[in-house]
Symmetry: C2
Subunit: 241 residues, 2 copies
């Protein structure tokens, strides 16, 4: 199912931001980009835009350029402004996470609306929106780059929509069971006694401490073999097959 | 309290990414940046770096350049690699949100480690880390720009650490109470009867429907005044003070 979320960039100045925004959208599975009166009418085909879009050129190809935000809102039933500037009145301000959670399942067709880099959205455009989203940030600094804001909101909205699975990058570990771990510990206990590190008459808490260390480490079967191989080597015996 | 989280960029190629990463960190309240053998040794003072850092030049000034990841991990007790490439073995892979939630309150000094733009982290560097973080993304595309990945993880980690408050951008609304809303409805009911839109003999569900609309709209006191002013104007009476 094609996702219906729209990303709207109003009066964007920097070609790099348009390209980076396209990539930020696509990596989160969104493809509907609309530009409202960008500074450069040919921004979608500028070299820097295409370079920053990386593999998201198809988002640029499908993007539309329209003259006003009102034109960009066709089919949209819930428009979220990103706005930092205080104003007399306007839609209520929310952090993205709780707002997106409340928006899931409402059936709304959602747009995320981003203003110009320097000035942010005009009052007139904010009034067209249903909610203001504010990415919680360090109060003394507080301003995300445009493309970074697109990335954070695309990520948060995708998470709210159910997200993507994380692919493990390694094979499933073959965990060692309790018998294997205790076998390694017993093996090492003998070695430690023979090398004079562990006094069997006054063992203190050495073995339970090592047991805790190994439990915390969550040994694999391979690692049990390694630890027992080292124990054998310490004992001076040739390593057995 | 200064935050102890460290951001480590390994073999970064693009000056713009270093600058954008500094800004992405600072906007989330992080300031400890370490570069491991960047492509350009002077990357911290290059023009593009400083331009992309915007107001985060202080992060660049304080940043260190070191020769290996091992050098960058002084004081760090939990290193999170960001890694996409499958490998034979290595730390377990997590989505950032649940991993960060489990990391809060452990007392660890955390580093987030980012690899080179094209190739990602080497196996040797991944093995130095305690966890692999994978930002869940569209499987068919799937690769965030380096600075975007820094922004998403800085944001998620800050959220896990308790986050920042969202500042409302407008004054607290003066909500209209039930009496005010019913007053406006009764006023409009009379107007609608006089203009022939509402038949008092067969009112159907018009007034309850308008009541629901107004409840959903959550009227302010100011808006009640506006709606009653319009009702008066429809009636042809001059607007009263």
């Amino acid at each position: 199912m094609a996702d219906s979320t729209r990303f709207i960039l109003v009066n964007t100045s920097h070609a790099g931001n348009v390209g980076a925004a396209a990539r930020a959208m696509k990596v989160m599975g969104f493809t509907d980009l609309v530009l409202v009166q960008p500074r450069f009418p040919d921004v979608l085909v500028q070299e820097e835009t295409v370079a920053m879009a990386s593999g998201a050129a198809d988002v640029l190809v499908r993007a539309r350029v329209v003259p006003t935000l009102a034109d960009a809102l066709d089919g949209i039933t819930w428009a979220c402004a990103t706005a930092m500037t205080p104003r007399d009145f306007g839609p209520p301000t929310f952090a993205p996470r709780p707002h997106f959670e409340s928006l899931v399942g409402t059936g709304h067709r959602v747009a995320l609306v981003f203003g110009p880099e320097r000035t942010g959205l005009s009052n007139e455009d904010v009034y067209r929106c249903h909610a203001c989203l504010s990415i919680p940030a360090e109060p003394a600094y507080g301003s995300l780059n445009l493309a970074q804001a697109v990335q954070v909101l695309a990520y948060e909205w995708r998470q709210a929509l159910g997200g993507y699975a994380v692919q493990p990058r390694t094979a499933e570990p073959q965990w060692a069971d309790g018998v294997a771990v205790q076998g390694a510990l017993t093996h090492w206990q003998g070695v430690l006694e023979r090398i004079g590190f562990l006094d069997p008459v006054a063992p203190k808490k050495l073995m339970p401490r090592l047991n805790q260390l190994l439990n915390r480490a969550q040994l694999t079967q391979e690692e049990v073999h390694i630890l027992r191989g080292i124990a054998r080597a310490v004992d001076g015996r040739p390593q057995q097959k």
